[in-house]
Amino acid sequence: EVPPCINSTAQMNWLNRADVRKALHIPDTLPPWDICSDVVGGQYTNIYPTVKDVYLKLLSLGVRALVYNGDTDMACNFLGDKWFVEQLNQKTTSKYQSWISDDQIAGFYEQYGNLTLLTVKGAGHMVPQWAPGPALDMFQSFLSNKPY
């Protein structure tokens, strides 16, 4: 099986070329590359129904965090992650407001100290793929800890 509605044929064909495998130092004994592993996925045990406690621990250590969502995704929709962040009960330090990329509103964000919650307007699950410009701007702001 492959993820629904996603076409990964081109990258799969390229990665499975013998000359590409050789260039990437992949042993000949390994099986062909695939985007997802049924063997791994089928035997996987999920332990964390929520990572709330993990976030609280990290925030208490002063770690910077960004939770961003393309707002047309239904696999992990933005509203669920917004509620998750709100459930952490962190003090709001900046109001819900728009952010700009390439002179356009690229989404909305609010901040809770070291934690930023941000949407990417019109993007789906794979934000860097479907909103590459805004995604790079967001990435730069996050790394440099500068305003969005």
């Binding site: 990437l24 390994l30 699950h125 790079l136």
Partner: protein, 297 residues
């Protein structure tokens, strides 16, 4: 830097990159070897941050992130040639793509046993990170960030906790999660509202959901035990996941078309594990939504 892993040329690459790249293996727990692909920053590799990128699944490859999302080049539809990505994240950072856990992509285990869990993945990723910085000691002083997408919502914070509290010398600054799974309950609970307010459910289904799944103004759309509610939730989730919509991008086409979708059951591949509890919803016994409505173009 680790010379044997350096990638000096790639088939299909007609342009000359202004960055360096390495591909090889990092050691995790004994017998497990995780494939990595590391690209340096196009700006100032020695000063720019190092960022670890993790795709989700569980069980899906981070090379999808490289070759389709934020990597410096992507693959053309011919599957043979490459083109540059002007919005690559390595324009401003050194980016490490890690195929994890063992069994995903080109990562492997000597014993070929691939049963694992969230904590084992985080432990192995932490070991792999230490293996990375042993191979690339020049980057140990750089600021370090972890970013996960989708099920990376579990991978990224659990690994971050190990990095932040562990003894390995890593200049860890922060983590990010993109469209991540953070809470099963909130993800399902919110999806019903998302679906209704994006016009996916009819007024009758919405009314029935509120009548059968809510009590005194509080609704449970996640693990409600009422049979009537479970049936209605099955209908709602079937509209989202099994009616032909692109669940990853509501307003985009579904590659392959409605009839050619690779999944025929109401579980998304990327989330089939966490949706194990959907068995109780008896999704497959519910008449399909597409069967109840006229065919549309």
């Amino acid at each position: 830097n680790y010379a044997p892993d350096e990638v000096t040329e790639l088939p299909g690459m007609s342009f000359k990159p202004n960055y360096r790249q390495w591909s090889g293996y990092l050691k995790a727990s004994p017998g497990k070897f995780l494939h990595y692909w590391f690209v340096t920053s196009q700006r100032d590799p020695l000063k720019d941050p190092v960022v670890l990128w993790l795709n989700g699944g569980p069980g899906c490859s981070s090379l999808d992130g490289f070759l389709s999302e934020n990597g410096p080049f992507h693959v053309n539809d011919d599957g043979a040639t490459l083109y540059e990505n002007n919005f690559s994240w390595n324009r401003i950072a050194n980016v490490l793509y890690l195929e994890s856990p063992a069994g995903v992509g080109y990562s492997y285990s000597d014993d070929q046993k691939y049963k694992t869990d969230d904590d084992q993945v985080a432990d192995d990723n932490y070991l792999a990170l230490q293996s990375f910085f042993a191979k690339f000691p020049n980057f140990t002083q750089n600021e370090f960030f972890i970013i996960g997408e989708s099920y990376g919502g579990i991978y990224a914070p659990t690994l971050s906790q190990r990095v932040a509290t562990g003894t390995a010398k890593i200049n860890f600054k922060g983590f990010a999660v993109g469209n991540g799974l953070s809470s099963y309950a909130l993800n399902d609970q919110s999806l019903i509202y998302f679906g209704y307010y994006h016009g996916l459910f009819g007024e009758q289904l919405w009314t029935d959901l509120n009548t059968n799944c809510c009590d005194k103004g509080t609704c449970n759309f996640f693990n409600n035990s009422k049979e009537a509610c479970k049936t209605l939730l099955s209908q709602a989730f079937s509209i989202v996941y099994d009616s032909g919509l692109n669940e990853y991008a509501l307003y985009m086409d579904c590659e392959g078309g409605v009839g050619a979708r690779a999944y025929k059951r109401s579980m998304s591949h990327l989330f089939r594990n966490y949706r194990k509890h959907w068995d109780t919803f008896q999704l497959l016994k519910v008449p399909s939504v597409t069967g109840q409505t006229p065919s549309v173009g």
